[in-house]
C-alpha cells in the first residue's frame, strides 16, 4: 500500500511553480509569474494551483470543479504537455513546473481558455440520437419502459469507448492539425459524432457523414495520434476520427453509385 494512506505525512518539498498570467485589461500579451510552493508528496498539479490561489495570490484564475477527473474543466499545459491537472501527480515533475493555459485555444485570462469555439464544433456534429422516424412524435411511447431499445453487449461495445469523453480538450491542445487548421472539427467533436454513428439506436449516419466531409472535414486529420496519447480517459479519439474517415468515404462512394436519398430533416 502506498504512503498516501498509511504511515506518517511527509514534509512538503518546495517547488517553483510558474504560472502564465494574462489579464486582457492590463496585459498586452501573456506573461509568466513564479511562485514558491510547499508541495505535499501526494499532491496533484491542481493542488499546487489551488494553494497559490488560496494562500499566495488570489488573482490567479483557473477552472476546476470535481477534482476526480470527470468534469473535464482542469486541463492545462504542464511543462509543455496537455494534462488533466487533478489527475496528474506533481511528484512526476522536478523543482520547476511550468503551468500554461491549454495550447491552441485563445486565452481569456490566466489559465482560462476560450471554450465557445469548441462548443460550436461539438454542437456541429449533431450529438444526439437521430431516428429516421422520430419516436418523439409519440411521446407516450418514448416514456414506456417496455420500449427501451434492446442493445447487445457487442452493439454497446461498438461505441462505449467513444462515449467516455469528458470534453477536457487536451486532445485539441495536442493535435498539430488543430494548431494550424482552424476549421478542423477536431478529435473530441468527431469522436462524439462517431459515437452516435456507431450507436445501434441511431439512424443519423448519412447526415453526420455529410458534416464529416464538410468544412471541418475529418480528412484534415493526419493521424498524428497525439490526441489518443494525451487523452486522460482512453477515449482513443484517433481511432474515432480514422474510423469516421473510413465511414465517410464508404458513404461518399455509395452516394456516387446510388442517387442520394434526401438527407433527412433539419436536426
Amino acid at each position: 500500500m502506498s504512503s498516501t494512506n498509511t504511515g506518517e505525512a511527509i514534509a512538503p518539498t518546495q517547488k517553483t511553480i510558474i504560472i502564465t498570467r494574462f489579464d486582457p485589461d492590463k496585459d498586452e500579451v501573456p506573461r509568466k509569474q513564479e511562485y514558491s510552493v510547499p508541495c505535499e508528496d501526494n499532491w496533484k498539479v491542481l493542488d499546487a494551483v489551488n494553494f497559490i490561489k488560496d494562500e499566495l495570490d488570489a488573482t490567479v484564475s483557473h477552472r476546476w470543479s470535481c477534482r476526480m477527473a470527470v468534469c473535464g474543466s482542469c486541463g492545462m499545459m504542464v511543462n509543455g504537455e496537455p494534462k488533466l491537472t487533478c489527475k496528474t501527480s506533481l511528484k512526476e515533475y522536478g523543482d520547476r513546473v511550468d503551468i500554461e493555459p491549454l495550447a491552441n485555444f485563445p486565452i481569456v485570462r490566466d489559465l482560462v481558455v476560450e471554450l465557445d469555439g469548441f462548443m460550436h464544433k461539438f454542437e456541429a456534429v449533431k450529438p444526439w440520437i437521430k431516428r429516421a422516424k422520430e419516436k418523439a412524435e409519440d411521446k407516450a411511447a418514448l416514456h414506456d419502459t417496455k420500449l427501451t431499445f434492446s442493445q447487445s453487449a457487442e452493439e454497446l461495445g461498438n461505441f462505449k469507448q467513444f462515449s467516455m469523453c469528458i470534453n477536457c480538450m487536451l486532445c485539441y491542445s495536442a493535435c498539430p492539425v488543430v494548431a494550424n487548421e482552424p476549421d478542423f472539427l477536431g478529435p473530441a467533436a468527431i469522436a462524439l459524432g462517431h459515437r452516435y454513428n456507431m450507436d445501434s439506436r441511431d439512424e443519423g449516419n448519412a447526415e453526420r457523414n455529410e458534416i464529416f466531409r464538410g468544412e471541418g472535414t475529418v480528412f484534415s486529420c493526419s493521424f498524428a495520434n497525439e490526441c489518443s496519447e494525451v487523452c486522460p480517459k482512453n477515449v482513443d479519439p484517433a481511432a474515432a476520427v480514422n474510423q469516421a474517415k473510413f465511414e465517410a468515404v464508404i458513404d461518399w462512394a455509395k452516394g456516387l453509385v446510388l442517387p442520394s436519398p434526401s438527407s433527412g430533416g433539419s436536426n
Binding site: 492539425v177 494548431a179 466531409r213 464538410g214 480528412f219 493526419s222 468515404v249 461518399w252
Partner: protein
C-alpha cells in the same frame, strides 16, 4: 481551390491510404532488388534483363488478367499520392494552413501528372 479540394477529399484520402498500404507492400521488394541489391551486384542484374523484365511486366493470369501491368500501375501511381498528401500535411503542421489550398492543389497536380505518365508507360509495354 480549397473548396475543390474539400469536394475531392474522400477520393484523395482513399488514394493516399492505398498509397501507404498497397504502395508500401509493393515497394519494399522493388526497392530492395532493383534499387539496392542489383546495383550493388549482390544479385546479378542479368537476371532482370530486358526480355525477362518485359515478360514479367506483361505476365498475365489465365491469359486474360494483365497481372503484371496491374501491379506495376499500382506500384507507380499509389506512392505518388501517399507522397503528395503527406508533404501537404507536413507543410500544414509547420504553419502552412493558410496556403493549404494552393500548395495542396499543386502537390496533387504533380501526383496527377505522375499518375498519367505512369499509366501511359504501363499501357505502352
Amino acid at each position: 481551390m480549397k473548396t475543390l479540394l474539400l469536394k475531392l477529399e474522400p477520393l484523395i484520402w482513399f488514394m493516399f491510404g492505398q498509397g501507404i498500404l498497397i504502395g508500401t507492400i509493393l515497394l519494399t521488394g522493388w526497392i530492395l532488388v532493383v534499387g539496392v541489391l542489383m546495383p550493388l551486384g549482390i544479385v546479378d542484374p542479368a537476371n532482370l534483363d530486358y526480355t525477362r523484365a518485359h515478360e514479367l511486366a506483361t505476365a498475365s493470369l489465365f491469359g486474360v488478367i494483365p497481372l503484371g501491368q496491374l501491379i506495376l500501375a499500382a506500384l507507380l501511381v499509389l506512392p505518388l499520392w501517399k507522397g503528395a498528401h503527406h508533404i501537404r500535411s507536413l507543410l500544414v503542421d509547420f504553419g502552412g494552413g493558410e496556403r493549404d489550398g494552393i500548395v495542396g492543389g499543386l502537390l496533387y497536380l504533380v501526383a496527377i501528372v505522375g499518375s498519367g505518365m505512369g499509366i501511359a508507360a504501363v499501357v505502352g509495354l
